[in-house]
């Protein structure tokens, strides 16, 4: 009797487990399929956008009137951005596909710059037409390659989940058509992208290629230790110093230490021994000094480091720290690209963070030209509904990554404060930004 009961119970259990397992399996498949479909959509969208992109560039070449050129270039700009975002949805980040992405982004930059230009007065140059012809050919190649991959994927029912697995396990599967296809695309782009864009698109990738010029002698590890001890009062503290690898834009030494529950980390440039960044992490107590007192500490700290021609232009309190932004000043003109950030602990006024990289990279003695228009003329370019409160001259980086001399106006429109930059040479409204620093605290409401 007992035996039979056991058998029945076990049989029911086995069937139950079987059904449960089958359901789980079904659900897993459904989810896999859903993920697969998302990948598939991104992939097919990508090929479609690249196809369209190729057509549009062809159209631009055939067009003549600026009135139709501008919208078409804007369309190209939009398509590159769409294609770029589709690439971002595919599991390709372990595959070297970045050249193609850069290529897309460069086309985007180029079409944006030409689309916003007044093509009536300033038509496409010979060089730009030549570049467009090149882009047309190259996008054509990418299109063909991608269409080919798409065809093979459809024909052989290839799945992106397999690509993902293959990439994750780093298996060199010879027959993975998708991976091979993308590698071919990448190789094609690689062979020409550098040379094509180098001449006609300088400024876009300016920051990477720029040689960073620092003054001073090279220093070694011992000097770093000496400097650190002088700067941060680190007598008898164990300091770990390591040089950077070959991939770094600026050769520097990184050092870290532990002292009384405080962990510090900083970078010092090899050439000249400048402090590049400083990060101190420790428990913060309740603030005892105000944001204003903190700014005095920050100024003193910068003066000690030898940054003398700088002024503070922004300060923000985040809980018990204050963050201060500085910019350099030359002939009473504020130069925003030369930026420095300083972080001060408001419990005891210690400097707990610094970043001088932008200043060190961009700072130079600039040859600032006289403005061609007066302040009053520039004011006329500002929306008359904005009540201007403050005005000055400043140098900023514009949308194209160039430094331009501008009149800077801070004004009020309704409840909001805006910062408006008018180019001091031609009166172009370079930038309008709404200044906003506070947000409703979601945690208290």
């Amino acid at each position: 009797m007992l035996r039979w009961i056991t058998i029945v119970v076990l049989a029911v259990a086995v069937v139950g487990v079987g059904i449960w397992g089958y359901q789980e399996h079904q659900e897993k498949n459904a989810i896999l399929l859903q993920a697969e479909n998302t990948y598939q959509r991104s992939f097919h969208d990508l090929t479609y956008y690249v196809d369209l992109l190729n057509d549009k560039i062809g159209n631009v070449l055939a067009m003549n009137s600026p009135r139709s050129l501008s919208p078409e270039l804007a369309e190209i700009w939009r398509l590159t951005s769409e294609a770029h975002s589709e690439v971002g949805q595919l599991p390709l980040s372990l595959l070297p596909f970045n050249k193609t992405e850069e290529f897309l982004s460069n086309i985007g930059d180029f079409s944006y710059r030409t689309a916003v230009r007044e093509l009536d007065k300033d038509p496409l140059t010979e060089e730009e037409v030549e570049l467009l012809e090149n882009l047309y050919q190259q996008s054509g190649e990418i299109k063909r390659e991608l269409r080919n991959v798409q065809h093979l994927a459809l024909e052989n029912n290839l799945r992106w989940m397999d690509v993902q697995l293959a990439l994750a396990n780093n298996e060199q599967q010879a027959d993975n058509t998708i991976i091979d296809g993308f590698k071919t695309v990448e190789k094609n782009v690689e062979s020409y992208s550098e040379s094509t864009f180098a001449t006609s698109l300088n400024g876009v990738t300016k920051h990477q290629e720029e040689k960073i010029q620092l003054e001073g002698e090279n220093i070694n590890e011992d000097d770093v230790r000496k400097l650190a001890t002088k700067l941060f009062d680190l007598d008898g503290v164990d300091l770990k110093v390591t040089p950077t690898g070959e991939g770094s834009d600026i050769k520097m030494y990184s050092a870290s230490y532990n002292k009384d529950g405080e962990h510090g980390y900083f970078d010092i440039t090899e050439k000249g021994g400048y402090l590049l960044s400083l990060i101190i992490s420790r428990e913060m107590k309740e603030p005892t000094i105000g944001l204003y007192d903190g700014s005095e500490k920050a100024k003193k700290f910068l003066a000690n480091l030898g940054f003398e021609d700088v002024e503070m232009y922004n300060s923000v309190q985040y809980g018990n720290v204050g963050v201060y932004s500085f910019a350099s000043v030359q002939d009473n003109i504020r130069i925003y690209p030369d930026a420095i950030q300083i972080k001060v602990a408001l419990d005891d006024g210690e400097i707990v963070g610094a970043s001088t990289k932008e200043y060190l990279i961009n700072h130079q003695d600039r040859d600032i030209k006289e403005p061609k228009i007066t302040m009053d003329e520039a004011k006329k370019e500002v929306n008359p509904r904005v009540e201007i409160q403050e005005s000055s001259l400043a140098i900023i980086d514009n949308d194209l990554g160039e430094e331009v001399l501008c009149y800077e106006f801070i004004g009020v429109l309704g409840e909001d404060t805006y910062r408006i930059y008018i180019n001091a040479m031609d009166g172009f409204e370079e930038r309008v930004e709404k200044l906003e620093q506070a947000e409703i605290n979601f945690q208290t409401t």
Binding site: Y39, S81, H84, S85, G88, L90, P91, L92, S93, L94, E101, E102, S105, N106, L167, A168, N169, N170, T205, T244, G245, E246, G247, S248, D249, M252, S254, S256, H263, Y265, S277, S281, P287, G290, L291, Y292, S295, S315, V316, Q317, Y318, G322, Q341, K343, G353, S355, K357, V412, E415, T417, L435, E436, Q437, A438, E439, I440, N441, F442, T444, T445
Partner: protein, 295 residues
């Protein structure tokens, strides 16, 4: 024994009498500011007081939220102009003294409004009970004026227990262009990816996310970068949904404020677990903790 009891009783009784009285007096007296100098970007109690006082005489029309933003800045400057002070937008001793002289400040009432999440203003010359709207209360509350005065009294007596605790400002400072939610999402990613790393390692991971947003080879949004398939292991295995600690949040804030200990890196990997050969071919910048950062 009995005498002692009686003394105790009387003492307690007296205390009970005086506590509400002293509270009542506080309402009338103008509280002095704290000693610190306020400037744009400050936050806290004394900013609430500053905004309330400026609103009392009509210079400030915005929300009293405890954040010294641009609206408050212009109000301070206009105030300084009208009262013949140095127009510098800084609230130092002189400005405070002038404000103290020409305005009144009912600290308890203002704090009570903030604590209860009411929508309120603080203009001088208008009865206070007309200037507040309870946030999520019964519909009855807002009706006749008589009950208005009553609730005002009631709240005063009710809150004697916790009126020493200052309310948190209803707004927070955020870096321009970022929401608290962006910071939270990044903190999730940083915590999932690098919670065991030294602090600068966490800042560096946050900086890599931001460098990727800037880079032409990656998506242009924070969420796009974080959720890019196969980009971050913490996203793939769900560790991103662990609750991040304060350190991760601080690291993200530091990175947004311009700290980049990674030296401009857009990739990093853990040499002990890296599965891809390709990642080793990237030019390496430096090593922080367990991670190698590269271009």
């Amino acid at each position: 024994m009995n005498v002692k009891k009686a003394i105790c009783f009387i003492a307690v009784f007296l205390l009970m009498m005086t506590i509400p009285l002293s509270n009542y007096e506080q309402d009338q007296v103008s509280e002095a500011f704290s000693a610190r100098t306020l400037q744009k970007g400050s936050s806290g109690d004394d900013v609430i007081e500053l905004q309330a006082r400026l609103q009392y005489i009509g210079f400030y029309n915005g929300k009293i939220d405890g954040i010294f933003g641009w609206g408050t800045y212009w109000a301070v400057r206009n105030f300084q102009k009208d009262y013949g002070l140095d127009i510098d937008g800084l609230v130092g001793q002189e400005t405070k003294a002038t404000l103290n002289r020409v305005t009144k400040y009912d600290k308890q009432w203002v704090h009570e409004q903030i604590r209860s999440g009411s929508d309120f203003t603080y203009y001088g010359g208008t009865p206070l009970n007309k200037q507040t709207k309870k946030k999520q209360t019964t519909t009855q509350q807002a009706a006749p004026q008589k009950t208005g005065t009553n609730t005002n009294k009631n709240t005063n007596t009710n809150t004697t227990t916790n009126n020493n605790a200052s309310p948190t400002p209803t707004s927070v400072n955020v870096p321009s262009g970022y929401s608290q939610n962006d910071i939270q999402l990044m903190a999730n990613a940083v915590y999932g990816e690098s919670r065991g790393e030294p602090y600068e390692g966490q800042v560096a991971v946050a900086a890599v996310i931001l460098n990727r947003v800037e880079s032409p080879s990656f998506p242009n949004t924070i969420s796009g970068v974080i959720f890019e398939p196969r980009a971050f292991t913490a996203v793939a295995d769900g560790q991103i949904w662990m609750t991040p600690n304060e350190t991760a949040k601080r690291a993200v804030l530091d990175a947004i404020n311009g700290m980049d200990p990674s030296g401009g890196a857009i990739y990093y990997f853990n040499p002990a677990t890296a599965t891809s050969d390709w990642i080793w071919s990237r030019p390496q910048i430096k090593r922080i903790g367990e991670h190698i950062f590269c271009k």
